[in-house]
């Protein structure tokens, strides 16, 4: 295959856009936490970036797209460290069917693994030990994300080459199952294993900075163009369709969320708008290439309204999914994945395509939920026994930022800012050698 420079340029940009989503998520989540735990919240996203960028090139790519072990997972040793994934036998760069170098595909896919795992952190805000989270990231991306990516996108069990394809070819354009159902179920399982924050449902835990959350939602939307339009794997009409669907569904979801709030609570809130953005983006993710723009409006509006209702479930059912990973990502992921069965322009029920697409979409959604649920439960319970998940109650009450990271996000009072006292207790000036100072 000849190198397609246009497609390659677009895929490099897409990979960069998707990477930007994770800091965007850190802002989105960080604004929603209390001011005493915003740094810990954001560090969970940055920690996931640091861990997974490394893990992905070591065994992540191979477990996702390497030679299949029973349709469940790729062999991690097959292309460990990207051996055989960059160059062909003659030393030239491998080029895929779209004219894009394989190494660019690695870049693109690694960013998906990062954002998916980071999404889970919203369910366990304010109370999770950072060290346990970092170990969880390695285990979960390895045992849940890479197998799911292999099953759906790597020619495995839930792909067009799997056993369910005899009913209809499963559609997951950019990650309804692999990303959102996977992360949403994991968030639910971890919230149950780790338990509720002290005072959950009794004391106010309102967002400390909604402007941060709205900025994060904006960055997520921008980055999501790489996520969805990039999932065309080239710069073509499908990419354009995915771009438009990504915007129309998201806009409709904002309207759906705000209308639901206005009717129920009396106000259209900024947090509702930011949440509606994400709900719409989640729902259109698996469907971006299969729907018409008009169909995507219907899907987005449904996702916005349903997610706005779903975020209240945690109070009724008593699980502390702190920032609504379940209500937004699991519910939105299900709406999108199953919605394809109704709205796909070629095979959807409402377009006269019969029920077979709907059936296969339900099947892959259920398999994804069971797989992610079981794997996350095993990892979560093992870490609970070996490392422990929770900070102490004192730390939780006083703020996890101070205890886990030795920092505070904001200068609370300003007293001491102008102090020139260099006596005991004051920070000593950092000594630098002359070479360092001039470096």
């Amino acid at each position: 295959m000849e190198l397609d420079t246009g497609a390659t340029a677009w895929m490099l940009i897409s990979a960069s856009l998707v990477l930007l989503m994770t800091p965007g998520l850190a802002l989105f989540y960080g604004g929603m936490t209390r001011s005493k735990s915003v740094l810990n919240m954001m560090m969970m996203s940055f920690g996931a970036m640091a861990v997974i960028a490394v893990v992905y090139v070591l065994w992540g790519w191979s477990m996702s797209y390497g030679s299949s072990v029973g349709g469940i997972v790729g062999n991690p040793l097959d292309q460990f460290g990207l051996s055989g994934a960059i160059y062909d036998g003659t030393g030239a760069f491998l080029i895929d069917d779209y004219g894009v170098p394989g190494i660019v595909g690695v870049a693109f896919q690694s960013t998906f693994a990062i954002i998916t795992t980071a999404l889970i952190s919203g369910a366990i805000a304010d109370r999770t030990r950072f060290s346990t989270w970092m170990v969880f990231v390695v285990l979960w991306v390895t045992l849940s994300y890479f197998p799911m990516a292999h099953m759906v996108w790597g020619g495995g069990l839930l792909s067009g080459d799997g056993p369910f394809a005899s009913i209809a070819t499963p559609i997951d354009f950019a990650g309804g199952t692999v990303v959102h159902i996977n992360a949403g179920v994991a968030g639910l399982v971890l919230a149950l294993i780790i338990g509720r924050r002290k005072g959950f449902g009794a004391v106010p835990m309102k967002p400390h900075s909604l402007p941060l959350t709205m900025l994060g939602a904006a960055l997520l939307w921008f980055g999501w163009f790489g996520f969805n339009a990039g999932s065309a794997f080239t710069a073509d009409g499908v990419a354009g369709l995915a771009w438009v669907n990504t915007t129309t569904a998201t806009a409709a979801a904002v309207l759906g969320w705000l209308a639901t709030e206005k009717l129920r609570d009396g106000h259209a809130t900024s947090l509702g708008a930011a949440s509606g953005v994400v709900a719409g983006l989640v729902a259109i993710t698996p469907a971006a290439g299969a729907l018409s723009p008009v169909g995507s409006i219907a899907l987005g509006a449904a996702a916005g309204a349903l997610c706005a209702l779903a975020v209240g479930l945690k109070y009724r059912l008593g699980y502390d999914d702190s920032l609504d990973v379940v209500g937004v990502h699991l519910v939105g992921g299900l709406v999108g994945t199953i919605g394809i069965g109704f709205l796909a322009t070629e095979t959807g029920l409402l377009y006269g395509g019969g029920a077979s697409q709907l059936a296969v979409q339900v099947i892959i959604a259920v398999v994804a939920m069971i797989f992610s649920g079981v794997v996350t439960a095993v990892i979560g319970l093992a870490l609970k026994a070996v490392m422990g998940w929770r900070v102490s109650e004192d730390v939780e009450v006083n703020g996890i930022d101070q205890a886990e990271h030795g920092e505070s996000a904001y200068e609370a009072l300003g007293v001491g800012r102008f102090s020139t006292d260099t006596g005991a207790g004051a920070p000593a000036p950092v000594r630098r050698s002359t070479t360092e100072a001039h470096a």
Partner: protein, 112 residues
Amino acid sequence: MKLVTAIVQPHRLDDVKKALEAAGVHGMTVSEANGYGRQHGHTEVYRGAEYTIELVPKVRVEVVVDDYDAPAVVDAVVGAAQSGRIGDGKVWTVPVEDVVRVRTGERGADAL
């Protein structure tokens, strides 16, 4: 001397300042305060969860004045801060034993 402390709506601060200046008060201390009265704040809704925000933001204005001026100063503050609606605030007066101007060491009424 008397310390007059006023808790008022933040958006009334400019009016209160003008009224105090008109009443001959030369200086004041203003700080941000949070509190609630009979209404117990208000409610806010985040993702469908309703929170009671008991502590609402107010501004605290403190001035030390001669005994003789105190009633007029209180009247000036009340006149400037009053809207007739819930949440207008409170003003109270307490006796002050001594005041010292740090720059000069002057004491009592001379330090005002």
